[in-house]
Symmetry: C2
């Protein structure tokens, strides 16, 4: 079994050559001293740490897993030492402000670090992965006294943190949450209730754990607008233990290295974070960053799966590949078989495009934080709002489905634990669910972000994409044609939606996929525009994935367009008997048939 | 967690009402006494046994799993007793000939039994699942003396059996197998070598295990034509133990209830089955039946996943569904959300079509065995040759991917063990690999079965499908149009293939998917043709899946057609700059970029 190797050369190429990140960032006052050499050095050090310290713990994390006993959770062997080395080296605080004990580097470097960490060891990475949201939350919403006690500890990762949102009956629908917070005489609160699916709710990695908990004050309205945010640590700064208990951890499909805890709050004394009844708003501030990190998990895991499958395919021989002459070997390499090349090149097309789009999104987050230019800010906000749900959905989906394709390259060997590929598929599956299910991402995009402004933000985004794409070659022309079709598709949905409230929800997933394909296409055109024609060896690395993209990935766009057109056509002209029209009116279907 | 319930009413509807199976079968002399009442009774009894005895063992099979110790394998608690009850009730011998101790019933009943068994407990079902191929093999190729010793024991399932094909370096490519057989003075042989991935190679379910082993005689040529088939039992009929050893069992992604064994043959005394060097031919006789059973595993597992997701979606409430008025409940049922309905109805569309196509294939196998009419025989052979690889591929794929969609209906609860849905996804994954990987099924269809005769068999199959489809309504017309396009697509590939040996291998998967969609479409038209217009309640059950098929499943057909057309167009007119043309010539891609 070969462990994941951080592909720092490819990452560097995308960051510097394609995205011009160092130049972009140096133009910002906050990063005036962040030059290409520094970024390169940080990336190489991160890659070394990930490859040497984190990747080797991936398998033991899966096989031994986190263990619960009597309220305590013991992490797999090696996890604690690796985490101590991680925070003491300053990695969690890479992008935190210097005044909070951080290094004040750009978010894009943090994004690249997390791509590598997730690829190397998704389970281990869950623990520090939650720090950044908690840090932003305390920084932007915590009182001065709360910040004095917790901010630096969380920023540096000396103390780990959790987000306690979900309850047994309230998953995607946080408005149903029932956990209660009661005011105490001293201005603090006591929180009571049970939260589930709390990643890292209990463990032995850090000496303290800071929980951010959504709960309802006595006089709060029902629904999401009645939720407030509270902070309760495992140990108070004076060393006393809080009334927060880990009742058990879940048995899961994968991600065994991360304890998924049931946390019971038993009148636990806590502090309010931000204003009463504005808890969701406080948590959603960092939503784009959190969703981008989940997309990066997908990209990293898919790259890890590709690396394994590629190595295996370059080593093992089975049967004769078509069009190959007789060789001295008794069979050809798996990598030479067209069906296997298709799998390998296709995953690489996704990884490369994903990397570019994710780094770009992280750079836009840096612009949002640091650019003095309001126009740049607006464009960056727009990019993040529209692109982040797309990234979260398609790259977590591709990690699972493309990871499964990579498993297929191993034949029967892929199904057994030995090669580690099946672990990637099991681990990756969760990312399609958490941080907002992929279906919710699609609704977020279409229903919450595209429809309300009549697609004006989406069309502005498409304008900016089009401005980047040349129209002098067939691939550029095809990209322009797809963008035009996406605009038309958007208009179709806007026109049909008023007549059928369910329509946008029904086609949200198709719409998100269509947007994703346009983004990925544009990403590849940018990559191709940066290849060095004088250096055919360097270009060759990118040719097969580019071709796989056009042969096997982009044709999905027309299918999504056709699905959406048929749904909209039906609504607009209900009597049409077009061949593409659905059998009966979507809402006319008697749900009772199955609801019974 | 709700266990799988055999849907015998739906199965019965497809078998009797849609396929007219009892009438068809009673026309055959062998089944003159098999009437609708008997078939119904067998099905109900099978459903009862599966639901009461086999389904409840599914979870313990996964959690405890098969255990290896010092060459012995202990099956999970309850497995042995269930197996003893199974064979003693005569279930393994349902379709075996009466003269071999069987019940002489049609294959289609056996197929239906295995659909239910696989849905209920894939791991347990692996053990008896291998009996039928071994029975056919010994029956058709074993010597009289071998048959006297083994045939009835295997037919009845008193002794279980294995197929020992794969070796560490020879998976899909059996021609690389190195296991040796040396003739002994008494006319028998001694076989030596290591076989891997042997399902049920060792266990405690039956008192003996019969291994059918591919091995090479000393003077045999290299490659697949040098393989002979041998029989070696765990215990010889005189009670002595053979030199067959289980060295270990694999740790797998799923299917923990089935031991996947490494078997070492250490000069094990054995008998030749059939003629020397015709071992593969002997094994491939039952290939269509074996692949159909794997397709049925997919259909069964997908149905089990659907059942779980549907039950959960009818019970749990999250958020408001669009277009629903305020109700007294604080949220709407998951089943009322369009994205979830889409998942549920789509899987049902696959299951229903799969069931019809699989039962039909089993009926064609019955015709092959028993019809006196050579024309019927020829058509049945054609159906099985062309349809079986399609079924194996698409339904195992759908079990995994559609099973994963069903997992998504549970949100975070789907990822934890509690609800049993993640087990289905893990278990189902293996079926995409064994009995010929899905990529090999696609090559089998296009390269071995469609291209060699210039698609004449495929076109004859399409003729017969078209004859079944009315052209009086839009859906029928659309189906005819798709079939016409499939013919054109086939002709395109035939025209382009001579110029590029790799082309058919590159598009084989798209071609198989296109054929599958045509078959599924035709299956649904048959189902719809049998609905009782007088009974809207009965029809309502089928409407939502039919609509999901047309809304979400069939649009893939045009995508596959476009992919194939682009690949063929490129070959035929290499200088074309069509927007759909791939970037560079497929074979011109320097493989060295990644091989290097």
């Amino acid at each position: 079994m070969n462990a994941y190797q951080p592909p720092t050369d490819d990452m560097q190429f995308v960051l510097s050559r394609v995205l011009n990140a160092p130049q972009q960032l140096q133009a910002l006052p906050a990063f005036a001293e962040v030059d290409a050499a520094l970024m390169h050095q940080v990336l190489e050090q991160a890659g070394k740490f990930v490859g040497e310290v984190i990747a080797p713990l991936n398998r033991i994390g899966d096989e031994v897993g986190a263990k619960w006993h009597d309220g305590q959770v013991t992490m797999p062997p090696g996890f604690k030492a690796a985490y101590q080395a991680f925070w003491q080296s300053g990695w969690p605080a890479l992008a935190a402000s210097a005044e909070d004990g951080g290094q004040g580097l750009p978010s894009v470097l943090e994004a690249m670090l997390y791509e590598m960490l997730s690829a190397a060891n998704h389970g281990w990475t869950m623990a520090p992965g939650l720090l950044h949201g908690a840090y932003e939350c305390i920084k932007h919403h915590g009182s001065a006294s709360l910040q004095a006690l917790y901010l630096e500890k969380v920023a540096t990762g000396e103390w780990l943190a959790t987000m306690c949102l979900t309850e047994p009956h309230a998953g995607s629908d946080l408005g149903l949450a029932r956990t209660k917070a009661v005011p105490l005489a001293d201005g603090r609160y006591a929180v009571s209730g049970t939260k589930i699916f709390i990643s890292g709710g209990e463990h032995d990695l850090s000496e303290n754990i800071v929980h951010l908990v959504l709960a309802r004050l006595p006089d709060a309205p029902p629904g999401p607008k009645g939720l407030s945010l509270f902070l309760v640590p495992k140990f108070y700064p004076d060393g006393t233990r809080s009334r927060v208990h880990c009742d058990r951890i879940e048995e899961k499909m994968g991600l065994h290295g991360s304890p998924t805890c049931v946390m019971r709050f038993d009148q636990a004394v806590c502090d309010l974070v931000g204003e009463p009844c504005k808890g969701l708003r406080a948590m959603f501030v960092m939503m784009n960053a959190a969703r981008l990190h989940v997309a990066l998990q997908g990209i990293g895991l898919l790259d890890a799966a590709w690396q394994k499958a590629n190595a295996y395919a370059q080593e093992r021989r089975q049967m004769r590949a078509p069009g190959r002459g007789k060789s001295s070997a008794e069979a050809d390499l798996i990598a030479e078989h067209p069906a296997m090349r298709r799998i390998l090149d296709t995953q690489r097309a996704w990884v490369d495009a994903g990397r570019l789009l994710a780094y770009r999104t992280a750079l836009e987050l840096d612009q949002i934080k640091h650019s003095p230019d309001t126009e740049v800010q607006t464009a960056a906000q727009r990019w993040c709002a529209l692109v982040t749900p797309v990234m979260k959905s398609v790259f977590t989906q591709q990690a699972f489905h493309g990871g499964s394709d990579c498993l297929q390259v191993f034949g029967g060997h892929g199904y057994v634990r030995e090669w580690g590929i099946e672990q990637i598929v099991r681990d990756a599956r969760v990312a399609m669910i958490y941080e907002g299910t992929n279906e919710i991402q699609a609704i977020d995009l279409l229903v919450r972000k595209v429809l309300p402004d009549g697609a004006s933000a989406m069309n502005a985004l498409l304008d900016s994409l089009q401005a980047e794409i040349g129209a002098s070659d067939p691939n550029g022309l095809a990209a322009h044609a797809r963008i035009a079709k996406l605009r038309a598709m958007t208009a179709q949905i806007i026109a049909a939606a008023p007549q059928d409230a369910a329509l946008p929800f029904r086609v949200a997933d198709d719409y998100l996929r269509a947007v994703a394909l346009v983004l990925i296409d544009a990403a590849w055109l940018r990559i191709e525009g940066c290849l060095d024609a004088q250096n055919p060896n360097a270009s060759a690395r990118w040719q097969a994935p580019a071709q796989a993209l056009r042969n096997w990935v982009l044709p999905e766009f027309e299918m999504r367009a056709a699905i959406i057109a048929a749904q909209c056509a039906f609504i607009v002209t209900p009597l049409a008997t077009s061949l593409n029209a659905p059998l009966t009116a979507p809402l006319a279907t008697p749900l009772t048939a199955s609801i019974g």
